[in-house]
Symmetry: C2
Subunit: 338 residues, 2 copies
Amino acid sequence: MKLATYKDGSRDGQLVVVSRDLSTAHYATGIAERLQQVLDDWNFLSPQLQDLYHALNHGKARHAFPFDAARCKAPLPRAYQWADGSAYINHVELVRAARGAQVPESFYTDPLMYQGGSDDFLGPCDDVVVANEAFGIDFEAEVAVVTGDVPMGAGPEQALDGIRLVMLANDVSLRNLIPDELAKGFGFVQSKPATAFSPVAVTPDELGEAWQGGRVHLALQSSWNGRKVGLCDAGPEMTFHFGQLVAHLCKTRNVRAGSIVGSGTVSNKGVEGKGGKMEWPKGYSCIAEKRAMETLLDGQPATGFMKFGDTIRIEMKGRDGQSVFGAIDQEIVPLHKD
Amino acid sequence: MKLATYKDGSRDGQLVVVSRDLSTAHYATGIAERLQQVLDDWNFLSPQLQDLYHALNHGKARHAFPFDAARCKAPLPRAYQWADGSAYINHVELVRAARGAQVPESFYTDPLMYQGGSDDFLGPCDDVVVANEAFGIDFEAEVAVVTGDVPMGAGPEQALDGIRLVMLANDVSLRNLIPDELAKGFGFVQSKPATAFSPVAVTPDELGEAWQGGRVHLALQSSWNGRKVGLCDAGPEMTFHFGQLVAHLCKTRNVRAGSIVGSGTVSNKGVEGKGGKMEWPKGYSCIAEKRAMETLLDGQPATGFMKFGDTIRIEMKGRDGQSVFGAIDQEIVPLHKD
């Protein structure tokens, strides 16, 4: 099934069930008001939502209305945990190669993961508010999952069973603030502002055969100022699948219902093109990668980061060509508009 | 006023108001069921709780019962944000000096802060469950605050106004997992398991003159296996006050109601003793500091980390000698008891 959270002026919004084709929606009132409630009591509440979803898909839900992604908050407008992996090791290889650094051997067996702020997520069409363009504004197109309860010490297979929902994320990054925070070793506080999520979160069964081995085998589209810059396959090159990422997170602590775990920037390897020159035919899911590609080819980056007024659209189509999660579609705006 | 959350089998527990002397309590039913609700709507709900607190202190609350810290969850059993600073620079100096490392100049103007997991906090008397003693189990006695909404870009003074509650924390640390995570630069995921908080969270006015300039001017007691090992003054040596810590956190993002911000290990400078030898008369608020002291004096640490069955008690007395927050009082236990 597909779930979203409509804005209603409250902090947590109103849970709605959305039809498979994203054309109609229905308030879940009477079953649950907020998505966190459903995650807290999944086995009892999710079958009731599933029934409503079935009725909605068959045009039999009595109070259905046209679904509008612009009215959505993030499916979880605030969450008790947001831990973002960096599971596409090609992303790490590319960025490090551009600055002449090696990838430590341990990175191939021990996932990179940072703990992010989860008190103030952005809806899919909310503005990305930044105080200063000089911070180096970048998008990061990712896949993310929402978990149920996963006990401390669970292995990757058990952790995989704990995944309840899948969605897309724009893990906005302030690139010029990252080096100082990386040097401190304590992770990202200022260089990772509020993250945005797709209009709709879907149960893994909605992905059909595209959900395999804890990976989403579909292409993630990124369009920057209306120009398609990335069409990266989220499947085979995900070095650590979501079960492995959740297991990493729960090695020394319980992971509780409603935790969000991200994939990190979806990234595909380059291929050798004409004359032995590297090419990246699938493009990029963040500007930092584009700049790394340019540095590797030409010795320096040519592409600047995002400016106020820039837009970013992130979407994933199913094998039927339909949008699975709806689109993240945001504009970068200054903190104080005059 | 003083607030706590009683265990009732649910994830969020039941909000109770606790008398100033911690002897009696009263359910806040009818006003709010959960502390997060109060933080979400502070101006409307907190005066009602204040009235109940007043009645309770004067023996006029109708359904008061004896307060029992052992029945408490953390005041916020789960939260939307837990960001822990390292605001006592002496702690950083001590630990770095022991390994022959310098403290970068920027650490005196730019706070260290990591984002922690906030989905599964421990109550003040809950066991600290760890899979393996070899992880290097340590306590960290800290002060923490809970904020209201603080907008992006707020300065230290505005941030200080956004502080709603003060409490104590035991930021359990797995010391032997820290070096690898520090080297990755992405912060702490596995080396910082679930944090515990004091039975009671108090509004800053409860601290009277001990709350000055965003610091708590009282001594924090740590007792390890019943032996007092630390009586550290939390006030004057706090390099960054809580307003500065919250301002650091909200530089690039909004901080939302119910965010918890920690001070890091409370730490006091050593003094020159007899024969010019350094002494630390106020002791330590984490074992890592004790080991650093030993290394500076004798070239190597003599004190081991915590073992299964060890206990840690953390408490703060007011100027009247009464416990302000109640005591954190925990035992270290293995993940799988036979």
